[in-house]
């Protein structure tokens, strides 16, 4: 047993930490928040340069073929920012779907472009009846001579506004099951509309007679439910690691604040009530961390990781949200000033709560894995 990072992971952590401190300081992230276009201009090319867009992609397809834990170590640092954006959607989630399900030709066509950062993919799965399973999918794909015509609406699609390509989940008319299509985001009939409010990086994507070629059907038509499920198990812990980073950042921020801020002539960290908040936070942080990294280890060791993945996703989503709550308790007034930066995490913790399936969904899966219900 050895629960420490190996040398490669240590290097990844160091360079990611430097990058986040340097290019993604609080001021920089607040600036990006005000002017989202700055991200793809400034941050994204640097990420590609560092090789991060190719980490989860095998060498054959232009990446560096790192294991899930390596990738997660990077995402923990990004979560500490929180650095927003399409790296997870494109280079982890969609890359995985292509790797698992696409034809060799499609893999050769798209994975190297994802690995280099030239193309940015996002997954358009969820619809009005929200959920990360195939059940809610209604988007219609009508077969025509050269390919398909897509009609329907996707919503709460993460990173769509930064994507060059979408992997769209739809139903082929007259066929069984659901299918995956690669759609160029510039295809006529495709409209991406970012959603406003206390929400980070999600859009509505409308398909109004959008034509795709037959070759853009990814995987076996009709089998997408299993294809997505398999990919989700493989990538979910990486997103969990991002939330671990978020928990760590808000904990560190709060701990430091509790050491510096004085009220009633003493640092507030002396008050047991403030200590309680911080203890809750460190418990959330460590719960998220260890459930996540064990799930990653199982994945990397080729073990059945399902139960651990469901535990990790339930725990990390809940932990990040609640850690932010306690960070607000510790900070009181200053924490709700947008310029302070804590609210970037608060919003992210809510926005990612349901991403890849809410804790409730993962708990229901766990019921099955544990043999508590049939099916």
């Amino acid at each position: 047993m050895d629960l420490s990072l190996n040398d490669t992971q240590q290097l990844i952590q160091d360079s990611a930490r430097d990058f986040v401190r340097g290019s993604c300081s609080r001021e920089a992230l607040l600036e990006i928040d005000r002017k989202p276009q700055l991200f793809m201009q400034g941050i994204w090319p640097q990420m590609a340069e560092l090789g991060w867009t190719g980490m989860a992609i095998p060498e054959t397809y232009g990446g560096t073929g790192n294991c899930a834990t390596d990738v997660a170590v990077l995402f923990e640092e990004l979560g500490a920012g929180p650095v927003p954006g399409p790296l997870f959607s494109s280079a982890v989630l969609c890359a995985r779907i292509l790797l698992d399900s696409a034809t060799e030709e499609a893999k050769r066509a798209w994975l190297p472009l994802i690995a280099s950062g030239e193309r940015v993919f996002a997954l358009a799965l969820t619809e009005a009846q929200y959920g990360w399973s195939s059940q809610g999918v209604k988007l219609a794909a009508r077969g025509e001579r050269e390919g398909f015509v897509l009609n329907g609406t996707k919503v709460f699609v993460h990173d769509a506004e930064r994507a060059t390509d979408l992997i769209v989940v739809g139903r082929i008319e007259g066929g069984e099951g659901i299918s995956l299509f690669r759609v160029d985001a510039k295809t006529p009939g495709v409209t991406v509309r970012p959603l406003a409010g206390f929400i980070a990086g999600m859009s509505e994507v409308v398909f109004d007679n959008a034509h795709v070629r037959g070759a853009d059907l990814i995987g076996q038509g009709g089998a997408a439910a299993d294809e997505i499920e398999r990919a989700l198990i493989a990538v979910t812990p990486v997103l969990c690691a991002y939330k671990v980073g978020g928990c760590r950042a808000v904990f560190d921020l709060s701990l430091n604040y509790a050491r510096e801020r004085t009220q009633f002539g003493q640092v507030i960290g002396r008050f047991q009530r403030v200590q309680d908040h911080l203890i809750h936070m460190v418990n959330f942080l460590d719960s998220a961390r260890w459930t996540t990294y064990e799930a990653l280890w199982k994945l990397d060791s080729g073990m059945d990781a399902a139960s651990s993945v469901h535990v990790a996703k339930s725990v990390s989503s809940e932990s990040y949200m609640r850690a932010c709550d306690y960070a607000h308790e510790v900070h009181a007034g200053i924490g709700v000033m947008r310029e302070y930066g804590l609210t970037l995490h608060t919003r992210m913790s809510r926005s990612l709560y349901h991403c890849l399936g809410a804790p409730k969904t993962h708990r229901q899966r766990l019921e099955k894995v544990l043999g508590l219900v049939n099916g």
Partner: protein
Amino acid sequence: MNFGIEDSAEQGAFRDEVRAFLATAVPDNLEHAIDPVDMSYEQYQIRRALGRKLGAKGWLYPSMPVEYGGGDLSAEKVVILHDELSRVGLALPPYYDSGGKMAAPTILVWGTDEHKKRFLPPICRGEVRTWQLLSEPSAGSDLAGVKTTAVRDGDVYRVNGQKIFVGSSHGADYSWTIVVTDPKGERHKNLSWLMIPMNLPGITVQPMDLLATGGEAGSGSGVKNAVFFDDVRVPADHLVGGENNGWKVATTHLEVEHGGTGRLADRRVIYDFIEMCRDRRDGYAICDDAGARAEIVDLYIEAEITRLFALRNHWLAHTGQPRSYEGAQYSLRRKLSGLDMAEKMLRIAGPCVLTKDEKWGPLKGAIEYFQRDAITALHPGATTDIQKVVISRRLGIGGREKEKAGTLR
């Protein structure tokens, strides 16, 4: 016991009277900004005008004495008034005003006759609006540690310092401000309260950008500000409650702010949310899911408890009974249950609760606002920790003598 509020013909008639009044007094062009920060100046003026109409009847601050422009209404009638206003999406007052809510009950206790006659009627009639200025960058929970000074200079006090997280949008006529009048004095014996006219030279108001503004239903506070005083000369007779007696005055103010005078809870957004969960579209309703139903029921139960704490405080206040921990208890409950409810909504309804998008954001964005506001509302008035400190002292936890509630009328 009787929880009913309408058990006499007189009360029934009062409800009819209020309803008829509102039917003509509330103008058609009154709009309800979901986020109080979005309330325009025109809309603010419309609300002020409505406030003056309510004030003329003594209904703007219905619990204040008639001689100072209040209504001196019975507990039941006040509930009816709130009820009817909330039916049209309004609260008392229909705009942010710390003057009637907190300064007036405090002046009633600590002001001289002259202060009461001068300050209270314009407040109660809705002619002026007042902000409360307590917090400073280095003094939040530790209110007694404020640093803004007011130094006596002939017949004025010269005020210097900075307040934060105060007020709202579109200005105020007065600021009800706690200051240090004896910089060398002992803690708690060095403070005073000034009613500062906001048109005096040397006052600068600078808006703050917050996650939300933590307002009450129907009268959210709008943009919070930092206020700077640069040698502002305040007439000495604007000092209320006696020089260096400000801490005692503060305990009254805080008692009121924490809800010790009773508050009628209106969390309409919760009932609207439950309604939304019942709403069936394309053959699907949120409440079809057993897990969601269980959480909705929890939400409802939490709302009931909070409502009853508020009602109890209202009854205690209107019947002049002794109070101790109840104000802080209500405040704490409201804060913690608000956050918990917001998170339940996120769990139940999914990411739609995070957007105010016209098409996807439920209840015209009211739920999205609630998501932000529930976090922000943990802090105004006093943090949850401080509410717990107050409750503990009032209950005498730890064996020390019980602390008394701040003096109320």
